[in-house]
């Protein structure tokens, strides 16, 4: 984790929703805790329905936590004044589409208390920054999804905030749009901003984020730097064998705790690196043919899947 006082500090936040009019409640967040340090891009990762947007809404003061504390820049998220240092882009944003791009940014600049003398210059800078200088006088209803997303980022930055919260910023964008938004996020980091990003697109996380927290079923399953995943996880290799007799397959499963997956006449095994030599010896001794041995890199995807499977398997 980078040094300095945390920009975001969430401690034991619980959120219960009441689905109907009855007394029964549904727990969406189960006492989650995490921190975000200054200047980092923090990826808040999880499958759909994990509670990512709920967490972000708690941080934005849009819903109240049932218990626990959430602070941004040292302030309780229920306060209002500190939000002049916070930017926010919701998921699939919808803005007042009767406004032009320029009127839209002027509205948010007034809300964010940008001094009148600085507003127009700030709007010009941001329109150019997000590549909408040509569309400033067009109504938002004429914008494409990618343009709206960029306009949304411009409103999040209109008051030059210290920390920016983005909820699924690449959602629904075409490949070009995704690259544009990715570049914008990297530019934010270059400008020294802290970025909190909700996403379920792991490729974006691997490309952008310094640190990650994995949320599954309302619980944080892992939090740390991406490289820590590799240190923590047991390294495995993929061994592909052919002509494998059933008795040998059984022995391999039992003695080496290998995971077997059949592909026609070939069988793929995932074995711990320390067991590779033993597996190969047994296979060759039993007349099997070794097709390949490939060390597996511990990608975010494998960690993510094991976190989700772990939760499904009752590892809560």
């Amino acid at each position: 984790m980078s040094g300095g006082t945390p920009i975001v500090r969430v401690e034991n936040v619980v959120k219960d929703f009441r689905p109907g009019f009855g007394l029964r409640t549904k727990r969406v967040l189960h006492g989650i805790s995490f921190q975000v340090s200054p200047g980092e891009i923090f990826g808040f990762v999880g499958p759909n329905g994990a509670g990512k947007t709920t967490t972000l809404k708690v941080l934005m003061g849009l819903i109240g936590a049932t218990s626990g504390t959430a602070r941004i820049l040292g302030h309780d998220v229920r306060e209002t004044a500190f939000r002049e240092h916070v930017g926010f882009l919701p998921e699939n944003p919808w803005f007042h589409d009767f406004l032009t791009g320029r009127e839209f940014l002027r509205f948010y600049a007034r809300l964010a208390k940008v001094p009148r003398a600085e507003r127009e210059a700030r709007i010009d800078t941001l329109l150019a920054w997000v590549g909408l200088a040509h569309a400033g006088d067009a109504r938002l209803r004429t914008y494409s999804k990618g343009m709206l997303q960029r306009a949304g980022i411009a409103q999040a930055l209109i008051h030059d905030p210290q920390v920016v919260f983005l909820d699924e910023p690449m959602s629904g964008l075409d490949p070009i749009g995704r690259v544009e938004i990715r570049d914008l996020i990297l530019r934010l980091r270059d400008e020294g901003k802290t970025v909190f990003m909700n996403t379920h697109i792991l490729h974006d996380v691997e490309m952008l984020c310094d640190r990650v927290a994995i949320l599954v079923d309302g619980r944080i399953r892992w939090e740390g730097r991406l490289e820590e995943f590799e240190r923590e996880g047991e390294r495995k290799s993929q061994v592909v064998l052919a002509n494998l007799k059933p008795e040998l397959a059984e022995r391999l499963e039992q003695r080496c705790q290998a995971e077997l997956r059949g592909h026609g006449e070939r069988v793929e095994l995932r074995v711990a690196e320390k067991d590779v030599e033993g597996v190969l010896g047994m296979a060759l001794g039993a007349g099997a043919e070794v097709v390949s041995v490939t060390p597996l890199r511990q990608s975010l995807e494998t960690i993510f899947l094991s976190a989700v499977e772990g939760a499904a398997g009752g590892g809560r």
Binding site: F17, K57, M60, G61, L62, I63, G64, T80, A81, F82, R83, E84, V86, G87, F88, L89, P90, N92, P93, W94, F95, H96, F98, L99, E103, F107, Y108, R110, L111, A112, K113, G152, Q155, A156, H159, F165
Partner: protein, 255 residues
Amino acid sequence: MTAVLAVAANTFREAIRNRVLYILLAFAIVLIAASMVLSSLSYVEQTRILQNLAFGAMRLFGIVIAIAVGINLIHREVDRRTVYTILSKPVSRTAFLIGKYLGLVATIWLLVAIMAVAFALTSWVGDAPLGLGHLAAVALVGLELAVVVGLATLFSAFTTPMLAALFTTGITAAGHLTRDLLALAAASGDPGVEAVTRWLHRVLPDLESFNLTLHAVHHLPITASDVVLPVFYAIAYTSVLLLLASLIFQRRDFR
């Protein structure tokens, strides 16, 4: 205060770019002008009938527009999630609510001004005399509509547009009847009924206190208290409505 004005200006801008509003306004103006035709059917008091009908059209359409736009006031912002980005800025929920209210009141007052011009033109064409009393009566129509917008804001803060329309229409209708209820209860002589109607008169808005149509049309004297007291009443009643709306809105989760 900047946030309140920014939200109010945006609400005003949104409302005046809404085509439905112009259709309703066109209907109102047609109905005001039509009062000239209707009054010509009478042999007596033609000018008074003209102004009575025109005032009635103004009040009726003012209420319809206030309810039609007011019930969606908060719901649309929540439904379209525009409230997310607004409240993520240094804007309190109370400031947002008051801004929305003021923006709609400004829109309604603009419409009342346009309808008043249509009323004046109709009176001029129909040779019906105009005086300061008419101006006071129009001003009180504006105040009455400000209270109706307050009711719509309150219900819009926590329920669906359909229910908000139902509640606002019901209370607005009841608000025009509370004085008649008081009179009926007094005539009945039943202390229980009198107590209930007194309580209703206090809780429900006394919208007839904003009705100076009779004074204006019949050129009856209008005292300062006829205007000043409704002004204070409107401010006090609307403040309570907005306070309640704010208390409810503060606790609301935007899921």
